[in-house]
């Protein structure tokens, strides 16, 4: 109770990293990154393989020590008071890390016991998780004999055994079939709705759209941070809109236009300050100038495009 109440009083931040750095010899895997993950947020850490995502995650879970800087989870310094932090964190490592020679049920039970659950509480919790993640009928199967998707479900169930407030998932959908990946994200959204803060890494850009906020990592640094929309805006320097019209129109005369990406006679791809505000003004102005607007709409930009732009800039 006491512990629970203390958590309620914690500051808004679930994770706070400051100047977090990890060096392996001369190689700098993570280079002075700052991160702030708010409570209840679904936060995505994005980047190509080798960007330093796993190293960052491992410093947050405390399984490796930072060379410089610190990480606080719910206000507790992980390097200094790791044991206190552990009960708030549920962790699903990138590689399947459960015991392949124990059964599904034995794995969850073991972790329940290691987390300090006993008796009927333990039994109920194990049963609940087995059912929730569709593992009940496989509970007596050795973990090593499970398919990839089932292994991931087991890993997720195990990470949740002590009902942690922060769920850290390192590439949870790597190697999982696309339909199953969607199913996983449904689980994550559900857990997020239940009030759990989620920190998830992925290199699938389409998945990252599901996150409340993102940080893009490349070569050990965070090169962009914000909501998916903010990140895309920042990559282009604004929103992308498409205008199709009849007649003559000088794009630079339109309000809010920052640059012209494409100019193919009666179709423009423009970058504007804010698509929501600027589009109606553009239509109005264009008509004042005598052109007939056929289409005026925001264009969907993929995160991937945004990311590639950022990577280009950072190099």
């Amino acid at each position: 109770m006491l512990e629970a109440r203390r958590l309620e009083e914690q500051p808004e931040l679930a994770v706070e990293a400051k100047d977090l750095t990890k060096r392996f010899g001369k190689f700098v895997a993570v280079d002075h990154i700052n991160l702030e993950i708010r409570r209840g947020e679904n936060f995505g850490l994005l980047g190509p393989n080798g960007a330093g995502k796993t190293t960052t995650i491992r410093m947050i879970t405390g399984v490796i020590k930072p060379s410089e800087g610190y990480v606080k989870v719910f206000g507790i310094d992980v390097a200094k008071e790791r044991k206190k932090v552990l009960k708030y964190i549920g962790y699903m490592p990138q590689k399947f890390s459960l015991y392949e020679d124990l059964t599904v049920e034995e794995n969850i039970r073991l972790y329940g016991r290691l987390q300090g659950l006993t008796g009927s509480l333990l039994r109920e919790r194990v049963r609940e998780l087995l059912e929730r993640f569709y593992l009940w009928e496989f509970r007596r199967r050795l973990a090593g004999k499970l398919s990839g998707g089932m292994k991931q479900r087991l890993a997720l169930a195990t990470a949740l055994v002590h009902d942690p407030a922060l769920l850290i998932l390192d590439e949870p959908t790597a190697g999982v079939d696309p339909p199953l990946r969607r199913k996983f994200w449904e689980h994550f959204r559900e857990l997020n709705k239940e009030g759990k803060t989620i920190l998830v890494t992925t290199h699938y850009m389409d998945e990252a759209e599901n996150c409340d906020r993102l940080a893009l990592m490349n070569r050990g640094r965070i090169i962009a941070e914000g909501t998916p929309r903010e990140i895309k805006r920042r990559a282009l320097g604004g929103d992308l809109v498409e205008i199709v019209f009849e007649g003559h129109l000088d794009p630079t005369a339109l309000p809010g236009v920052k640059s012209v990406l494409e100019d193919s006679r009666e179709r423009y791809l423009l970058i504007v300050e804010d698509a929501g505000k600027d589009l109606p003004r553009i239509v109005k102005k264009a008509e004042e100038l005598g052109a007939k607007i056929l289409v005026a709409s925001p264009v969907h930009v993929s995160l991937e495009e945004a990311f590639i732009r950022f990577m280009g800039e950072s190099e």
Binding site: Y99, D101, L117
Partner: protein, 377 residues
């Protein structure tokens, strides 16, 4: 959330770890085979290779140059000790020597001319043992046994003729090739109690690191203490059978006659088994992978064997080698187990050795606790 928080227990997490380790061990058929079959196999190989069924006594000859009552009484005392089978009593040293040279017996005991006379007058005297040094462990057994008999005889004589001393003198002779399995029981036990447990447990932590399970494991509130003692306990239960198995195999198959009680031998074996497991854990803490751990445990095993006195008695080694031997727990075990199993001593009489072995155990565990990193690499 609150409901769970209330139910969460603090404190040690050893029992779930023991449970887990034993389940994992039992599910690995290769491990079971190694734990159960290796002691039996080694015992059988030793049994057949080193003489099979024996009479349970060391054959020796006696050269009685004295011919008096004192000598007669001493010979009787040798017989009573049940450690010797006196093949012949000669009247000349030459006959005695040749009985050792020819390989008929391990040793020849010479009682000097003035033995009875010295005895009656309370003068210091001696007996001379000419033994086959080609088989050091047997030779050592005989020397110890002669020492014991002399001691007993001296006490008896002192009560009748007053205080004096009988010094056993030892001389080496090279000769026979006969060996007996009893004298190899301590060696056998040392091997079995060292090799299987150490190599088995030595991979336990680095396997977790290698397979990645350690990363999940240390996300729970387990402590270094829980891990070390959880694994130690589990592997102890798994390997304690080894000691019993090999003893029973030796007794049943080769008719080995051990003087020690089962309890005494079990106590001494247990103390050493805990040492072997602690050493294995220490190796596991420092090894990068399973292969390295295996190599380290085999390497330490070889060193232990060389300096434990099972091949060459430590007494006859160089000063440097003696120094090394004093850091080898197996040396203390072999000494203690030899006394308990072959001489029928109680474990209380080998407490010194047990204390030294336990000190090493303590040191290995302390180092493991100190250097086990709750981190991944």
């Amino acid at each position: 959330m609150i409901e769970l928080e209330e139910g969460i227990r603090k404190g040690l997490r050893i029992i779930p770890i023991v449970d887990k380790e034993i389940r994992q061990l039992v599910r690995d058929p290769k491990t079971i085979l190694m734990v159960l079959l290796m002691p039996i196999t080694v015992t059988i190989l030793f049994g057949y290779g080193y003489g099979g069924k024996g009479v349970g006594k060391y054959p020796i000859t006696v050269v009685d140059l004295d011919g008096g009552d004192g000598a007669f009484k001493f010979i009787q005392e040798l017989r009573n000790s049940k450690m010797f089978q006196i093949k012949a009593i000669y009247k000349s040293k030459g006959q005695g020597f040749s009985s050792v040279y020819s390989g008929k017996v391990y040793a020849s005991l010479v009682i000097p001319e003035t033995f009875t006379e010295d005895l009656m007058e309370g003068r210091p005297t001696r007996v001379e043992l000419y033994y086959d040094a080609s088989n050091p462990s047997v030779a050592q057994m005989i020397m110890q046994a002669v020492g014991v008999v002399t001691q007993q005889f001296q006490e008896w004589a002192a009560s009748r003729f007053g205080t004096f001393a009988i010094t056993p003198m030892f001389y080496t002779v090279y000769g026979p090739k006969i060996k007996k399995i009893e004298s190899f029981i301590p060696t056998l036990m040392a091997m079995i109690l060292q090799m299987v447990p150490t190599s088995l447990i030595s991979v336990s932590i680095c396997r977790e690191r290698e397979k990645g399970t350690f990363e999940q494991f240390i996300m729970t509130p387990v402590s270094v203490f829980d891990i070390i003692f959880g694994k130690l306990t589990a592997y102890f239960f798994a390997t304690i059978s080894d000691a019993t198995l090999s003893l029973f195999t030796a007794v049943l198959l080769f008719d080995v006659k051990l003087k020690g009680t089962f309890l005494d031998m079990t106590i001494v074996s247990t103390v050493f088994l805990l040492n072997s497991l602690s050493l294995g854990l220490l190796i596991s803490v420092f090894s990068k992978n399973q292969l390295q751990a295996y190599q380290a445990s085999i390497f330490s095993f070889i060193i232990f064997m060389l300096f434990s006195g099972v091949f060459i008695p430590v007494d006859v080694l160089s000063t440097e080698a003696k120094m090394i031997a004093s850091f080898v727990p197996m040396y203390y075990f072999v000494t203690a187990f030899r006394n308990v199993s072959l001489k029928g001593w109680s474990y209380l009489m080998v407490l010194d050795q047990l204390a030294v072995i336990s000190m090493f155990t303590f040191a290995f565990l302390a180092l493991s606790l100190r250097f086990l990193r709750m981190e991944v690499t």
